[in-house]
């Protein structure tokens, strides 16, 4: 089923594991390299920046090819057929790049994949507004892409499309219990994905299954979030006790995630818990304005800073099974990026209007420092 050489993808997974093991000093660097040499990878996966460059170029090519085709065929109607055709051509190219050129997450295959799903599904949106059909098509295409190319984005979109499909089907006749139905569905998806992730030795689809589990976990919360429910109910007033249930859900689930994560030492639950607490606070703030936004920002900022400060201090030595250890930090490639982001976020805090400063005319500053320019 998979478009790539199965062993190559498996070896890719093992390589990542060996890198982690060498970083933890479980195995020596030399041994790690010897093992890697014996597990060859016959795939083309370039550096991150090359990936972005290839993706941008592929995007240009797709746009201009569509434009050229449109001009040549001088289409005035049946746009949907045209879009389906474009989607199929993109898919054919995707197959060629994957099977012949061995492109795996190279930027080219990712963009082609998105293009083919987007073209085919948007062909339906041209004149037919059936949400059920649209979500079904996206679901089928995503599942196929997931199986065929072991792609994580496709896997995530499959989960969301499935939930959307269930929502559109179910909300027609059983509007009142749709949220519960969706919550249960997300829970079932999570349960099976998580179980597969832990037991499976199929290294080809393991990363994909992990993404499915994470998305299902987040959807489990989102399907009961008060803001989501309220937006989905199209202005229909909920009885008080029902809204109380959803408020309870919004407030309790993130905390449960966090507690479960901390107890089981599960980073996925810890990260989702913290993220969803923020989401719940924003949800609450949306409906109840107990203080102005800036005071909320200020207090949240103090709370976060203090909390992280205390935790960093406490966890300098391993405690409760956790550690904050900078010495163990693997020198990271994105250190420079961190600096740029800081410059972006904090750099132009203060830019006083400068009516007529010009570089080179030396009109500013009386001191020696400024007159150099």
């Amino acid at each position: 089923m998979i478009a790539y050489n199965k062993t190559s993808i498996e070896n890719l997974y093992h390589h990542e594991q060996i890198d982690e093991a060498t970083a933890m000093e479980y195995i020596s660097k030399e041994q790690g390299n010897t093992i890697k040499d014996r597990l060859p990878i016959n795939l083309y996966t370039p550096n991150l920046f090359v990936k972005i460059g290839l993706g941008v170029l592929t995007y240009f090519i797709i746009i201009s090819s569509t434009g050229l085709l449109y001009l040549m065929l001088s289409i005035s109607r049946s746009y949907n057929l045209f879009f389906v055709f474009c989607g199929m051509v993109s898919y054919v190219f995707l197959e060629i790049m994957a099977t012949k050129k061995k492109h795996y997450n190279s930027g080219v295959d990712n963009v082609l994949m998105i293009a083919s799903v987007a073209f085919i599904s948007s062909s339906l949106a041209v004149d037919n507004h059936s949400n059920i059909l649209l979500s079904l098509i996206v679901l089928c295409l995503s599942i196929w892409m997931t199986i065929r190319f072991a792609d994580r984005l496709a896997a995530g979109s499959a989960v969301i499309a499935l939930l959307a499909f269930l929502y559109f089907i179910f909300s027609r006749s059983f509007f009142a219990i749709t949220p519960f139905f969706l919550i249960i569905s997300a829970g079932i998806i999570y349960y099976f994905a998580n179980k597969t992730r832990k037991l499976s030795t199929n290294f080809v689809y393991k990363p994909v299954v992990k993404i499915i589990a994470i998305i299902a976990l987040l959807s489990f919360y989102a399907c009961g979030n008060y803001l989501v429910i309220n937006e989905m109910s199209n202005g229909i007033q909920m009885p008080t006790y029902v809204s109380a249930v959803f408020w309870l859900w919004t407030m309790i689930i993130p905390i449960l995630y966090l507690v479960k994560g901390v107890i089981n030492k599960d980073l996925i639950f810890i990260r989702s818990g913290v993220l969803l607490i923020a989401a719940s606070v924003i949800t609450f703030k949306y409906y109840y304005n107990i203080m102005p936004a800036e005071q909320a920002l200020f207090l949240a900022g103090i709370a976060l800073t203090l909390m992280s400060y205390i935790l960093i201090q406490k966890l300098k030595k391993a405690r409760w099974g956790y550690i904050y250890n900078e010495a163990n930090l693997i020198p990271n490639k994105y250190e420079y990026l961190e600096g740029i982001i800081i410059g972006e976020a904090f750099g132009h805090q203060q830019q006083t209007p400068q009516p007529d400063t010009k570089f080179g005319d030396g009109s500013f500053g009386g001191s020696g420092a400024g007159s150099k320019y």
Partner: protein, 326 residues
């Protein structure tokens, strides 16, 4: 995250020994979980929220709190941050310091932000520098620059460069570079070019003279983007001599390309190729649509983009392989 199943498979294929497998699985069972990035991100978000909220609160309550009280409290907080860093930081060296902690980095960052607010406030309210607007940006920039070098902080260096450019009259943060600058203004184009050259020169010097070698990337990154964007803006603006600006772009691209290739830097290789592609496409489009708009020209344009796109993809793929092999 370590997946034991993977090592069991490796063990089965006789790539690791049984002892190693038991060692890995027993070590993994008791290993404390590292919460490094989680806590760092939390700290970062906290400081961002804190300073944003503080800024708005001050702005809204200026009438009731009183300017002097605000300025004094910001000043005290700023002094506390800087003195904490001074006390904790290792002695100054021209090479990379290794012993500073993430916590200290963030406190320095917080202090620097307070410093920017402090000077901005003094200028806005008390007119500290009078009408010499340049000084109001120049002095904080100087403090940022000194702090960046003294405490060895890449983020503060970025802030300093952003403020330096603001002082020269140009915005260089990535997300605002194109939005906030009026590139149809000639002086901005020249300013951008000169700043780009200056940053590139400092980048080169810091590496050659071994003065904070690891600042090289930050200087070069700002410098390269400024040079490329300014020359492309020059092509747009100076319509009748655009070929001259195109030649300049070619020259800069050639130099950047050679450096990137020598340093095996994928990042600079890709941005050089993309800016160059943009420039050459602009020139060709101008030639195509020079006289009148015709349908055949449109066909040509589409064909050009398809073929050149494929060509550049092949080029990038090849270069990636060549650099990897070297």
């Amino acid at each position: 995250m370590i997946d034991i199943a993977s090592f069991e498979k490796l063990n089965k294929d006789d790539l690791i020994t049984d002892e190693q497998l038991t060692r890995i699985s027993s070590a993994e069972a008791v290993k404390p979980i590292a919460l490094l990035w989680e806590l760092k991100t939390m700290m970062y978000c906290g400081i961002l929220l804190l300073t944003t909220g503080l800024g708005i609160i001050i702005y809204k309550n200026i009438d009731s709190i009183g300017h002097l009280a605000i300025v004094i409290s910001i000043g005290i907080a700023m002094v506390i941050c800087f003195s904490y860093c001074l006390k904790k930081s290792p002695p100054f060296t021209f090479s990379k310091t290794t012993s500073s902690s993430a916590l200290q980095d963030y406190i320095l960052l917080f202090g620097c932000m307070l410093m920017l607010i402090f000077f901005g406030y003094l200028q806005f309210q008390f007119n500290l520098f009078g009408n010499r607007w340049g000084m109001a940006t120049f002095i904080p920039m100087l403090i940022l620059l000194v702090s960046a070098y003294y405490f060895d902080h890449l983020g503060v260096l970025s802030m300093a460069l952003v403020n330096f450019s603001a002082w020269a009259g140009i915005t260089i943060t990535p997300l605002h570079m194109l939005k906030r600058n009026d590139f149809s203004n000639e002086s901005i184009i020249y300013t951008g070019l000169s700043l780009g050259v200056l940053f590139m020169a400092i980048a080169y010097l810091s590496q050659a003279k071994n003065i904070k070698k690891h600042f090289y990337f930050t200087y070069k990154n700002f410098g390269a983007h400024l040079l490329f964007i300014s020359t492309i803006a020059g092509m747009f603006h100076f319509g009748n001599v655009y070929l001259f600006w195109f030649l300049l772009l070619c020259g800069i691209s050639a130099v950047q390309y050679a450096i990137a290739f020598k340093e095996k830097s994928f990042y600079f290789l890709v941005i050089t190729l993309l800016y160059f592609y943009f420039g050459i496409s602009y020139v060709l489009m101008r030639l195509l649509f020079y006289s009148t708009f015709s349908e055949s020209a449109l066909y040509m344009a589409f064909l050009y983009f398809i073929l050149s796109g494929i060509g550049f993809i092949f080029l990038l793929t090849r270069l990636n392989k060549i650099i990897k092999v070297q």
